[in-house]
């Protein structure tokens, strides 16, 4: 009898237990990180090769097509990629595709203060933050065709005339687009830049992997970095441990917890339904 009720519990427990356990297994390791080992996937290696092949003076369009929520997932990738660009002394232009993302460049550059200083980065000369310039497809299209006509000021209203951006006119003038995305303007960048031939890499949230992967395979993107795990792997490759790597314990536990629940659910399902059939 008790066996039956155990099976029933496994098959029909209150889903709030799942919520509570997931909450605890994530918060626990974040409060006390263990530092479990990880492996690096081929996609991340390809991405690392793509971003580290930039050369000094290359003009890079660094697009943040994400809300704050997405930033939390892919910040490891954003910071690690930006570090690589700074270390290669490239010219970086940050543009964002969501109102919330106007607050993200500050978070990124604050983490890279020492790298910026070490490479002598000066705002205006070496990097510019444009703010929310990609609200819709039309605006991205005009950035691609007539940059000077579409963009006149940076995010705080200062003219961009005296910056390196004055040399940008069309999509051809960018050496690389590094996109960080939860969706939003990425499709527009794809249509109006990547498809015309601007090299482009993408770091997307996990939800988008399935829809973005075909573009890598068909050669439209140079490479793709997947979700937070990709960011952690990139941190490992660049040799600068950061938020991605410390979150990997919680990541592992979250996955294992779900697997346990699935196993328990199936055991319960078979045990319970079989007993019901046998009894009835």
């Amino acid at each position: 009898m008790s066996d039956n009720s155990l099976m029933k519990t496994l098959a029909t427990y209150d889903r709030r237990w799942v919520y509570l356990v997931l909450f605890l297994v994530v918060v626990g390791p974040l409060l006390r990180p263990i530092g479990m080992p990880i492996s690096v996937s081929p996609d991340t290696r390809q991405y690392y090769e793509a971003i580290s092949s930039v050369e000094e003076g290359d003009k890079i369009l660094f697009t943040l097509n994400t809300e704050f929520s997405g930033y939390n997932e892919i910040q490891a990738g954003i910071v690690a990629t930006m570090r690589v660009f700074i270390e290669h002394n490239t010219k970086i232009c940050v543009a964002v595709g969501h109102p919330e993302a106007t607050g993200i460049p500050e978070l990124v550059f604050n983490q890279l203060r020492s790298e910026l200083d070490a490479n002598g980065y000066v705002y205006g000369e070496d990097y510019v933050i444009l703010g929310y310039v990609m609200p819709n497809e039309a605006s991205v299209a005009s950035m691609s065709q007539d940059f000077q006509g579409a963009i006149t000021q940076d995010w705080l209203g200062r003219s961009i005339d005296d910056t390196f951006l004055s040399e940008i006119n069309t999509w051809e003038d960018w050496d690389l687009i590094a996109d960080f995305t939860t969706g939003l303007a990425t499709t527009y960048l794809l249509n109006h830049f990547a498809l015309r031939g601007t090299p482009m890499t993408v770091n997307c949230i996990g939800v988008m992997i399935a829809s973005q992967k075909p573009y890598v395979d068909s050669g439209v993107y140079l490479a793709i970095l997947q979700s937070m795990r990709g960011g952690a792997e990139l941190e490992y490759l660049t040799g600068h441990p950061g938020p991605g790597l410390t979150a990997m314990d919680a990541f592992t536990f979250g996955h294992y917890m779900l697997l346990l629940f699935i196993i328990a659910g199936n055991v319960g399902y078979y045990g319970y339904t079989r007993q019901q059939r046998g009894g009835g």
Binding site: R15, V207, M208, A210, S211
Partner: protein, 264 residues
Amino acid sequence: MATPLFQVPLIAEGRFIGLILDILIFALVLYYTSGDKKIYIRRVAGLDAIEEAVGRAAEMGKPVVASYGLGGFTYWTLAGLSILSHVATLSAKTGTRLIVPTGGSTESLIVRPVAEEIVKTAYTMEGVPDQYNPDDLPFLSGQQYAYVGGYVGILQRTRPASTIMTGSHWSDAMNIAETSNAVGAITITSGAYISNVAALACASDYILIGEEAPAAGAYLSDDPSQRASIRVQDIFKWIALGCIILGLVLSNMGINIVENLLST
């Protein structure tokens, strides 16, 4: 890398075939919507599930919650509206209470009056216009989060027998589907984008996968334009399939004509 077969004067390099395909779509839509062509549409299995869901509600004496998504006028929304019309007719026939959450985005504001009209018409056609209650089409604001909150609240308070969620839903879909399941409703959903479809396929009792929803909508609707649309999409799928198979065969024999033609 494929090389273009030929260069058409005036036309930008590598864009000729794209232009031709776009023009072909125009021509086909024009052809199939003109005159009185009755286009065959296959009945998708999901429609039986919808009928069962409404029948279950009638038996249990509980309401049905049906939504057409929170997007603007896209073809997903149109499909959702066609299905809503069918659900409303079934509800009117069986005397089941139908609740339709509306709103959810700025674009959806212009869809709402159409939905109202559809439900009202269904009740009138079935001869029970007095059963139509405008308060059962609550407007849950033009914000996605407020919409989800309101939707979930309705599910929790009314505990419907069935939930039929079609049209465009984004990250809100899982929240609604899980709550619907938690309150014991039969959950039928449709998904437009792939990550959502995979998750909804697990969370729902029945799912209309991708294009199944527009096809179901076209099947139910008399609108020649919707049916023509499904036919033209089918033709283009045949083209894609033909190109892929032919291309695979030829390119493995060392003839790259298909890739080269496509990059012309």
